[in-house]
Assembly symmetry: C2
Homo-oligomer: 89 residues x 2
């Protein structure tokens, strides 16, 4: 039996792999990131009016400038978004 925290961690891994495996390097997100964010964070993004938001997130995340986001970079994004959401609580 997994705990809720372990399940949350498992969800992060599962979602990343679901999208990263679609094309190119299967351990990295390229244009799949946009698909992941718009598909999995609909509530969060529906409040945003900036059409360049996802492109800017991608640029910020892609610290090594290879136009790809690895699992480490993805988890840092999720952490940042969770902290942002946490301000509302």
């Amino acid at each position: 039996m997994s705990t809720p925290l372990e399940e949350a961690m498992d969800t992060l891994i599962r979602i990343f792999h679901h999208y990263s495996g679609k094309e190119g390097d299967r351990y990295k997100l390229n244009k799949e990131l946009k698909e992941l964010l718009t598909g999995e964070l609909t509530d969060f993004l529906s409040g945003q009016k900036d059409p360049l938001l996802v492109d800017n997130i991608m640029k910020d995340l892609d610290s090594n400038k290879d136009n790809e986001v690895d699992f480490n970079e993805f988890v840092i994004l999720v952490a940042a978004l969770t902290v942002a959401c946490n301000d509302f609580f």
Copy 2:
């Protein structure tokens, strides 16, 4: 309707607040961190033999040396553990 990713983020917030609110500053974990890790990461910790592991995690996390872990520091821990687990997949 929330997506699985939004639910995972919500779980992180809920678990943090559940423990951080127990005593002292309700937005920070002090000795509650040990309780959180042993209560919520049983599978992960059951594989560990090092009795100082949780103390060492606390020291590493507590970047500002106040013996407390805020939500930001907690999410970084979860990210690090998720990446560690991801190597097994």
